[in-house]
């Protein structure tokens, strides 16, 4: 089932199907992220009509996608990555495919990677929103 970015919740499951537009991409992979993993990765800002999120591109994905690309994510995962915060990514079992360019009217706030989540007291396996750390991305601030 296709979900909007505003509805994704951190979980250790590869089951997120969504589509977003890439707004910006870090020029070089952050040292911390590169050190944390053996492969090449980079962080990008993505958004849809409802919310924005930080995504992690892996290996060839880093070159394959550019700002303005519309991407379909199948079986993605939204979880904490050490030193990089909450990231949406394809992971080993998921897949990202470019399906167009330009034609998404997006919002940059809220950014679901800039929300602090905490375990749901009624169901500790689930996360619920606790605090908004920042309305907009702190890594990719909105254009002036």
């Amino acid at each position: 089932m296709h979900v909007f970015l505003k509805d994704i919740v951190p979980a250790a499951q590869n089951n997120i199907n969504t589509r977003f537009i890439i707004l910006d991409k870090a020029r070089s992979p952050p040292a911390a992220a590169a050190a944390a993993s053996s492969g090449k990765s980079c962080i990008a800002l993505a958004a849809d009509e409802t919310a924005a999120v930080h995504i992690q591109l892996w290996g060839e994905e880093c070159e394959a996608f550019e700002a303005g690309d519309i991407v379909k994510l199948t079986n993605g995962i939204f979880s904490y990555v050490r030193n990089s915060g909450l990231l949406l990514r394809a992971g080993k079992r998921g897949n990202m495919e470019k399906m167009g360019e330009f034609t998404v009217a997006f919002v940059e706030t809220p950014n679901v990677s800039e929300i602090q989540w905490s375990p749901d007291p009624e169901n500790p396996k689930r996360y619920v929103k606790k605090d908004v750390v920042s309305a907009y991305s702190r890594i990719f601030p909105p254009l002036p």
Binding site: E61, A67, G68, M96, E101, F102, T103
Partner: protein
């Protein structure tokens, strides 16, 4: 026999639906594409699949193209309408993904469709004309331009008989391209292209003047950029001596403005003006700029874009009342992009005001003149230089565009202003005439201009 895939594959890109349907049809029917062919008449569904398979086979294999096309001739029952629609789909959706050899095959198929005068041929030729990129002098683009202008010359007779209006579209297209091409030297193949473009355009004027004049008033705008070329000097003089008033009075159909806008550019401009909110438009603007406007020779594209926005993209009242990017704001951005480019800026402004000069409320749409009016008005508070430069340009046009028909142009511009007020585009022309910011001499000239119409009324 050499076989290759007709489309460039990219690892992280979803396969286009049309591409997928062609490839699957080919995979399913490949054994049936070689003689001896089945004598059974295919049912409608089989015919569609067979058409797709034949198209894919021709695109990827030049060795047996003639066999494949004979096969198509044998089974076709719809005047090649379906096959042509597939070709149009490829040109519009997949042209950029075609490998070079497949582009050659596509052009070969197009000539075949001209020979059989297929249903939908005009759409196919128009979509190919739109594929000639502006300000792109790479081999592939110059090749396409060469192929198409050659096709229009070689198949002149067929086209004239079957789809004469496509010649008018080709004339608009090549006149516009010539203005750019004549500024570029040192590309041997382009010299040949220019020679053929001139040959085609001159032939249109000399042999099919009535078809040429169907372009309407923008024909004059295009031709005035070419009068320094000897072949056009004469045509220009003839045209001016003829009933040029009639040409001025005939509004150019929106179909012509699409010719110099690629399908991708059209999609993005329509999206920008139909879905993106003012205030959160910056990233979209930057993407558009990067994709279409970077490059020394791309600047003149702004002329075509402004004409396209004024004459083709007419938003609904609902969109006008919403927070969506208004046309005047996008045009203001384009004007800022070409500021101080002396070759481009005046032509972009002329494109913006062109319908003002001949405005007749009985035939002209208020939507064609609305963007310039609102851009002048809404620039007053923060971008007064835009208001001034536009107003000055317009008043200068009135005086100089066609001195012998100055009165007519004055009346037209005045009536455009009146109509803008009458239709409520601006609340009152006093917003210009009494604005404390606008320079007094411009206000005075504008008041004079507006009073001329009152005298007549």
């Amino acid at each position: 026999m050499e076989k290759g895939k007709p489309f460039v594959a990219s690892l992280h890109e979803a396969e286009n639906k049309l591409e997928l349907s062609l490839r699957q049809a080919f995979v399913n029917l490949e054994p049936k594409l070689q003689p001896p062919f089945s004598l059974d008449i295919p049912d409608p569904q089989e015919f569609l699949e067979l058409s797709r398979a034949i198209l894919y086979a021709v695109l990827c294999d030049s060795g047996s193209s003639k066999t494949h096309i004979k096969h198509l001739h044998a089974v076709v029952t719809d005047g090649y309408a379906f096959f042509t629609s597939l070709l149009v789909g490829i040109v519009l959706e997949l042209y950029g993904k075609l490998v070079n050899s497949a582009k050659v095959q596509l052009l070969w198929l197009t000539k075949e469709m001209v020979s059989v005068s297929s249903v939908g041929l005009e759409d196919l030729l128009v979509s190919l004309l739109r594929r000639i990129g502006s300000g792109d002098y790479g081999d592939q683009n110059v090749w396409l331009c060469y192929e198409l202008v050659s096709l229009f010359l070689d198949k002149w007779g067929c086209l004239l008989e079957d789809v004469p209006l496509v010649l008018t579209s080709a004339l608009y297209n090549f006149l516009r391209l010539l203005a750019d091409h004549c500024r570029v030297t040192g590309i041997p193949k382009l010299e040949e292209v220019k020679r053929l473009e001139i040959k085609f355009c001159v032939r249109m004027f000399r042999e099919q003047l009535h078809l040429s004049l169907k372009i309407g008033r923008d024909l004059v705008r295009l031709l005035q950029d070419l009068v320094y070329i000897s072949e056009f000097k004469e045509i220009w003089n003839d045209l001016i001596c003829s009933d040029i008033l009639k040409i001025y009075q005939s509004k150019t159909s929106s179909r012509y403005f699409l010719l110099r806008i690629t399908p991708e550019m059209e999609t993005q401009l329509r999206f920008l003006l139909g879905n993106v909110k003012l205030g959160s438009h910056k990233r979209h603007q930057i993407w558009f700029l990067k994709k279409f406007l970077l490059g020394l020779e791309k600047g003149t594209l702004l002329i075509d874009i402004v004409r396209f926005i004024c004459c083709v993209v007419h938003p609904s009242n609902e969109i006008i009342r919403s927070e969506i990017m208004p046309r005047w704001a996008v045009i203001g951005w384009f004007l800022e992009l070409c500021r101080q480019n002396h070759h481009v800026e005046p032509r972009v402004k002329l494109a913006l005001f062109y319908d003002w000069l001949f405005f007749d409320e009985r035939i002209d749409s208020i939507m064609n003149v609305e963007p310039a009016a609102l851009l002048m008005l809404w620039s007053i508070p923060q971008y007064l230089h835009i208001t001034h430069s536009l107003l000055e340009f317009l008043l200068h046009l009135v005086d100089t565009y066609d001195v012998t028909r100055r009165d007519m142009i004055m009346r037209s511009v005045a009536s455009a202003f009146k109509e803008i007020e009458r239709k409520g585009v601006v609340q009152s022309l006093d917003m210009f005439l009494s604005s404390p910011e606008i320079a007094p001499d411009l206000k005075k000239k504008l008041a004079n201009l507006l009073s001329c119409q009152q005298d007549i009324n």
